[in-house]
Structures are given as C-alpha cells and as structure tokens.
Symmetry: C2
Subunit: 364 residues, 2 copies
C-alpha cells in the first residue's frame, strides 16, 4: 500500500500531465511535481514531442533548493540519449533528491527499469507503482502503441437505448445530448486521426474538426476515409481544405482508377488496402498512434468482427427508436454466439449514459 501523501502528490502529477492532452503524441503525457516538507515547490509537464521533459520543467519551475526533496513523476525518468531531448536521470541525480516516486515503469524497452536502476544506484530512494492502473489509463494510447505495430483503436458511437445508431433512412440527428457531443469532441482532441467510412462521408458530409467549446489550439486530426473512391462524394467538406490531413484507405488499386487517380492523389494520401490490419500497420508507419473510429454501421462492424479495437465508447440516450441500424451486423442466431465485451466504466452525462468497454480477455 502506498501512503496517502504519495497518492495525493501523484494525482497532482497526473493533473500536470493532462495539460498536454491532445498535443503530445507520439510521446506519453508526463507530469512532475517536486515536494519538500509536504509543500509543492515546483511542477511541470512535457508539452510536446521535442520539448523538455516534465522533470526538467519542474526543476526549472522550482522556487527553492531541491536537495532532500521528493520528485513525483507519473512515468519513469528516461536515461537514453537517442532522442531529441537529453536524458532526465542525470539531471534528477544532480538536483539532490532524497526520494523519487514513480507511477508507471516506462514500457519502452530502451528505458524500462534502467532509469529506476540508475536512480537507485546513485543512492536515491525510489518508489514505483503509485496509482499504477490510473497511470496506465491516462497513457493507454502510449502504452499500446509503444509495443504494437498498430495504432490504439477507439470505436465511438451514439446509440438509442434499443441500440440504434441511425434509422433505416439514415437519420441520426441527434441521438445523444449536447454534453455527450461535447465529450465526443473532447475525444477527437486526444486522437491523432478520426476514421469514417464512405457512407458517413456521403450521408453526413462531416467536417471532422474539433468544435463545441473544446480548445483544439489549432489542431486538426488526420481524417481517414475507408472505402471505394469511385463512390466518394468529391464535393464533401473534407476535400476543400486541410487536404494534407486526408488519408484514403481504398479497396481498389489506384492504378485501376485512371480517371480519378489525379483527384485522389491531389486530395490526400493513399493506402491501398488489402485488409484492415495491414491498413492499420500502414497508418502507424505514417506516425499515427491513435485512431478514433466514428464510422457508420459497416465500418464499426468490421473493426468489431476482426477484434481490431482497444476500446469502445457508447453514448446511450434513453430513447426507443424501434427500428434502424446498430453498430454490429451479424447473422448470429444464438445469444451464445454474441461478441462478448467487458464494461470498464459507466457515467451518466446529463441524462445520457456513457458506457466504456474493452474486448473480453479469454483468461477472465
């Protein structure tokens, strides 16, 4: 068991880390708090890839001498030098800390445990694992993508109580309430890319930017469109501006689309898709660590069926539509053949219900 004091200051480090939400990819969100005699004397966070790490920012922020102080940090301080920023461990040692409290061990094999060892070798007392699960949740994208060839995939849908994401005529306005839609724009901020299918492109003509009072500080996520470019409505908003943010995952070979080829190449990057998993690997190679999937029934269903997701968020409104389309298409006739998920969180948001789910692990 960790002390209440350590938990309190680690939560402050989380608060620092969260200040970088949406802007720090492909790096993790990291915050640091320096404490002396139970008073915070410095704090900082890692704001962006290439910028100083949280520990260094907290040291710069310090109002008094750090010797004998405690450093709280949600990720193991780094000790490797093959990156844009110098390693933090030597600076932490130099600062004369008595104790360093860490939430998560860095999963990056180049660091993992080595930073902690170096600190201990220099005589600093190191405590590891304070609020570990919360830290893993905070950096779930980083923890997945550092060890995987594919981005972190988050499926998102708004549905009625009877599981409809749209009526049979395609109407989906508005299933969830304004607070949930704001939350949804908040999710967009934290992902590198948003993925939709061709039907959503043509039916909803979405702008896929970040609005509804969420401060995106100019960030425009990548917009990934899945489907056959021959069927795209080329008058859609997405083809008017920020086209450098467009990525098309096509079911065709571009060479077979002679008449469209120029337009496609003008309006975005292309991944010639053979299957979903290969396309995701290509997205990762383009530097995309995380994808929020907002697509239509067909798209959501494909990812669900192939198990290609890390998280599913449903905003469920207490409405009964009575017909329409759900997120999952199947011909299952037995409940025992259902796709089983696991609820990891629920929250009532002004009368709507947010349900977060994960894949069910076989061991459970």
């Amino acid at each position: 068991m960790h002390s209440e004091i350590d938990i309190k200051f680690m939560n402050l480090a989380f608060k620092e880390a969260e200040k970088a939400k949406g802007f720090v990819s492909p790096n993790p969100m990291v915050g640091a708090v320096i404490v002396k005699d139970e008073r915070v004397i410095g704090r900082g966070f890692h704001s962006k890839s290439g910028m100083p790490h949280a520990e260094i920012e907290a040291l710069k922020d310090c109002s008094e001498d750090t010797s004998g102080a405690t450093l709280y940090c949600n990720l193991e301080p780094c000790c490797h030098s093959n990156k844009q920023t110098p390693p933090c461990v030597p600076e932490v040692i130099k600062a004369g800390f008595k104790r360093v409290v860490i939430c998560n061990v860095d999963p990056n094999p180049e660091v993992s445990g080595k930073g902690i060892k170096a600190l201990r070798d220099s005589g600093i007392e190191v405590e590891v694992g304070v609020l570990e699960p919360e830290g893993e949740k905070l950096n779930e994208v980083f923890f997945h993508s550092i060890l995987s060839d594919t981005p972190f995939i988050h499926l998102k849908a708004a549905q009625t109580l009877d599981g409809k994401i749209q009526s049979f005529t395609g109407d989906s306005k508005w299933i969830s309430n304004e607070s949930c839609r704001k939350r949804s724009h908040g999710l967009r901020l934290t992902y590198d890319a948003i993925l939709i299918g061709r039907e959503t492109l043509n039916n909803d003509n979405p702008s896929l930017n970040i609005r509804m009072g969420v401060d995106a500080n100019g960030k425009i996520p990548f917009r990934v469109i899945l489907g056959d470019p021959e069927k795209f409505n080329w008058d859609s908003y997405l083809f008017r501006e920020d086209i450098e943010k467009n990525i098309f995952i096509t079911t065709n070979k571009i060479d077979s689309l002679d008449s469209l080829k120029r337009k496609i190449i003008e309006k975005g990057q292309v991944i010639e898709n053979h299957n979903l998993i290969k396309s995701l690997i290509e997205l990762k190679k383009l530097g995309i660590q995380s994808v929020l999937i907002e697509g239509g029934s067909k798209v959501l269903s494909s990812f669900l069926k192939e198990g290609l997701f890390n998280k599913l968020t449903i905003f469920q409104a207490p409405k009964l539509l009575g017909n329409g389309e759900g997120i999952f298409k199947s011909t299952n006739n037995l409940i025992s053949d259902s796709l089983n998920l696991k609820i990891t969180n629920t929250e009532v948001i002004e009368g709507n219900l947010m349900i977060e789910l994960r894949k069910q692990c076989l061991q459970e």
Copy 2:
C-alpha cells in the same frame, strides 16, 4: 435540512420496513424505530395486511419506558378506524413521545395530514419529510396504486448492448448474467403479478415462480397471460398447478371460443380484453396492485407505445448479437420521433449494467 441523527434513524426505519418486502400488498411497507438518548429502544414493522402496524410492533418491542422518546416512522401514523387494524395515533399519544419523525405523509385521503395534526394537537413535536424521496421510492407501488385505478406497471427486459432481447429465431438464453437473473427473481417477489404474452408462454414455457435463492416464503405471484387462448400451448407448466393464480387477458369474447371455453375457465380467471387500459383496471379490481411485465417484444412494445408503465428496468449485457428483436417495434424514421425516457438509476451488476428508467415528464 434535516439533522444527521434523524437521517440515520429514518434509514433504520426503512430497514425495518423492507423486512416486509413482497408480503405486505396492498399496504405500504412501514417500519418504526423508537429512540431515547440516541439509543434504539424498540423497533418493528408492518408484516402483512391485517397484522399490527409498525408503530404498535415497535411499542411492543420496547425495552424501556417510552416517555420523552422519539418515534421514527417512514409513513404518517394512521388515525382512521374503517380498516382491519385499530388506528395508531391514540397509541402513539398514549406512549408519551416527545417527538415523532415522519418520512412521507400518507397519500390516502382518509389519513393524509390528519394523523400529523392529531399528534401535534396533543403537544407532540412532529417533523415531516426526512428522506422523503427515498421513502417514495421504497413505496412507489403503494404511492401509485392508492390514487390510481390501475396497478403499478414495471416493464422488465434483459437485452444485449445492441438492444436485442432475443435473436430472430427466438433464442434469449442467457442474455444477462446469473446475478441479474437473481435480481430479476427478487423483483418478482415484490410484485403481485407477472404478465407475459402468448409467444413467451409458447416459446419459453416459463414457470414464473420465484427461484434463484430468493426466499419467497411460499408466495406465488399471479401469472397474467395476454393473448388469444386459441393459440395457447395448453401443455405449458402454468396450466398444471397453481392454476388459481392464472389470469387470462383474451382478445376474444369467451363465448366465441365454444370448444375452448371450459378449458379456459378451468385453468384460470378471464378478463375479456378490449384494450390494455381497461384490462389493467380489471386487474386492479381483482386486487392486483402491481404488475411486473416480462415481455416479449410485442407485449413490451404495446405497453411502451401506450405509455402504460411506471418504470422500465433493462438488464444490459455487454454483448453484441447483431440481429434480433428489441423491446420496441416501430416504423419511426426520425430520431426526433423516438420514445423519450429518463434514466433514474444505473448499477453495474457483476459486469452487466442495470438501467432503470421512467417516462419523461413533459414539464421537464
């Protein structure tokens, strides 16, 4: 604001009241606690219609003199004498209480406020409204049925995350987990009757008793079957025993069913139905204060469409079936034409989600 001490002892009175859960209809659940110098010196509950009221039981239970003590009681003590039990107010006055703390005013027009007035007139200090909403929830059935011609109607269904209560082949085993099914049997205990449709009778052949570790103390709820007796499977369990508990709401006139008439009358009581609301009034006349509606799709849908329900409980399992039937059938094409409900409670029950809903009031 009510004092913490009053809230604490009113919660103890609730605990007493709940001991009668399932056995006290058509009366409300009432508990009483007698407190002197912040010590409980007596407690009691109303166990069954015709048995002594909670206040009297608590007085009998008292270990010491009640003069100057405080009586906590979740319902206003009664002062009318046209019932099986004598009025409580004179006994309460006789006991010499200094103070009486009440949660809910009795909605029965014969009592409402008169009990409180009589207590005050005798010089007792009376405080009303401690945990009032919780008290209304505890006795929601009583509060509805005392003032209504129809029973309290509670719709219940287990559904998948995508809103299916069964597959298109009729399979529904098992959507929710064992803990939810236990909870469901617990609900059966607290209702006078369980209502199903003809399709559920024939497809599931249910026994509609109270099992799964719930102590029913021999109680068998009325079983109400809605539909055309010509299509009933007369080999079903329900026609083998406890047939005095069967009530058929038929869409036909019994006289038109000459060949079946004898069987129908032998196997239960009959309500010749013209519409749902009239049938519910007939059920109330038979002494049924509360009905738990256990589906299927057609039956639930009828009650939902006509707004004939007080409460809806969904046990939602995190499974995706992908096809099948939901609780609500409609041809709505616009989300804005959905039936709007209001979430009143949610609870995660061992990985399944219980969602309680009410009709949305127009004023809200």
